[in-house]
Symmetry: C2
């Protein structure tokens, strides 16, 4: 074992990563375009068959009047919130403390749109109806992320969602869905995308999570909302002369994977079960409600990292390329299951998990002896 | 002749368009990626060889410390102006009344960044040193567009540019270059890109004008400026997980066409000369200073449009897909010469211009008889 090898390097060299759809390389684009006729005209500033047809089909999938394709979800969601705030004349929204807009966007919502967020719930749990009802301040829009990614991809019960939606409608609060992983939760809810989206006034979906495209997003809602979103898209610099590299690949991988969300979900439940049998390991949620979950270790990053590298090198199985500290002096990583899992030899995977468990047990014992 | 055919339809059917690089279709992407190895890793949120290498090479071409790739120029330029305004603590800039930010971006600069623009010069002419010196209000940044696209692509003398640059430096005003068509003007100035950029604090260039890529832009400046631009790029929703579809194609067409700016410029001068021999036609500028110019007709759009359709159908030459009203009760269109011009048979083109000239003369006589 090379002592200087990083977890990232060891992971890249492992032939059997557990999560994802395989390597993110140029082949993703080449495959998506292989069968596309070169004479197909490019979209031009939001016009043209390529973009208009895809938008119409996605509006249909989501059960909304209209949809607009965006280069990124960051842009799509800030714009959705801005439109609802402007409509209501109040630049205030509410979302989870670990919302993408709060932790991954360099405060674009505040710096560009001057919208003030109210943080609901706490960062360890989901937003509940009670949180929403207890809100002290008026808000124009509530954003819900399904599943709540940063806490392992948890979901409220469908009835709770319905109750939050009804309460918001009653109070004149717009409800926006961060549905970056919307398709991934449909097997758990046993609902169609349109059935979920019916509870929301606006919806964003992503094409590079479970769908595995290159990049790109759709924002959907009623016709006036989408018309306004197109104006803001231009203001943000998102109305590129041509977005077809993302549209064609989003469409291709949507068709490839939309019917695989059931197996991804089943795989996630099976794999989480196996992780939970390891010493000092627990998944969040314990039983996944989508294709994703977090794997938490009781031991700290510095201890777990070399153990993982050893397991990857012995078995060829790659769990993760990184570890992050958790709040309990341990560490964790995220897994989202996709096409790659089907290529993982089951015997090797089970061997890898046994080795991991043994090594973790050994380290825990050493630790308790020395402390 | 089909009386219902629009100018756009007739132009699309004409086998020999005078301007551009050929049809904007999916083949543009397929050709750029044909020789690229599929195993090349994608860029990830601004990191990775594909994006970092291209940014470094473009910084070098522009003679700047650093550069960052953007999905669009709209995003890049708003951000440049925001950075300079924030640094100076004054949200005010100056630019030409027909600046891209003023007329094509749905007021993103005002609505997103709350920056107030002062309009310099008037819309029929270039900004001069005198305009800048006469400014009544303090500004943080002056934006110059070279060439000034909306007035046919005009350019100030290099000495005037130098004087404006020196004056701005002396007054602590940052000078930003809208260099969407920077490479197209180098043959006229007989300067390198770096020699022009030396006069500016920040520079934006585009990859789908003379370069003919799919979309994409570079913003360059000193290292702290570019670091800040990367933060704003994330805020705007421009820090896509992967931008390689635009980077690879920008790089490919940059290499294909960077050495063709001389012939494009020569072709533009030749073709403008031919247009100027037509009855009731004048180009702006009379002698082009880049690969672009505007073609103005004395007669109105309604009169010129059917004449053009007739010429396209008789000769196969396509001048333009649209006409816009000008301020003199006539109309005009824009031409930017690229690869397509080399495929135009000279005899047909000259025939087309003769026919156009004859038809325009006839129409002008009819008009004077009936009025």
């Amino acid at each position: 074992m090379d002592d200087n090898k990083t977890l990232m390097e060891a992971f890249k060299q492992a032939p059997y990563p557990l999560g994802g759809h395989g390597k993110r390389n140029i082949q993703i684009l080449k495959e998506a375009f292989r069968e596309i006729d070169g004479s197909l005209p490019s979209d031009m500033y939001g016009k043209g068959e390529i973009i208009e047809d895809f938008q119409a089909r996605m509006a249909d999938v989501l059960g909304k009047e209209a949809a607009v394709f965006f280069p990124s979800g960051t842009m799509a969601q800030q714009i959705a919130l801005r439109i609802w705030c402007d409509a209501n004349g109040l630049p205030r929204v509410a979302y989870h403390p670990l919302c993408h807009l709060e932790i991954h966007e360099e405060d674009g919502l505040k710096k560009l749109h001057r919208i003030e967020p109210v943080l609901l719930a706490d960062k360890h749990r989901l937003i509940t109806l009670e949180d929403v009802m207890r809100l002290q301040e008026d808000i124009s829009c509530l954003l819900l992320e399904l599943p709540q990614r940063e806490i392992g991809g948890q979901l409220p019960a469908y009835e709770e969602l319905e109750a939050i939606s009804a309460w918001c409608r009653d109070k004149g609060i717009k409800l926006h869905l961060d549905g970056a992983r919307l398709f991934e939760i449909l097997p758990y809810y046993r609902k169609s995308a349109a059935e979920i989206c019916r509870l929301f006034d606006s919806v964003y979906i992503s094409f590079y999570k479970g769908i595995g495209g290159i990049a790109g997003a759709i924002l959907a809602g009623d016709e006036p909302f989408v018309q306004e979103a197109k104006v803001w898209k231009r203001r943000h610099g998102g109305d590129l002369i041509s977005l077809y590299p993302y549209i064609v690949s989003s469409d291709y991988y949507f068709q490839q994977r939309i019917d695989k969300m059931d197996p991804y979900y089943r795989d996630a439940k099976q794999l989480a079960g196996l992780f939970n049998q390891c010493n000092g390991v627990a998944t969040l949620p314990e039983v996944p409600v989508s294709n994703m979950f977090h794997v938490h270790f009781q031991l700290p990053k510095e201890t777990v990292e070399p153990l993982l590298i050893g397991v990857y090198e012995s078995t060829g199985i790659g769990f993760t390329s990184y570890l992050r500290d958790n709040d309990a002096a341990g560490c964790f990583f995220e897994l989202s299951l996709g096409d790659a899992y089907a290529d993982v030899p089951e015997d090797r995977m089970k061997l890898a998990l046994r080795m991991l468990s043994d090594k973790l047990k050994e380290s825990a014992m050493e630790k308790s002896t020395t402390s």
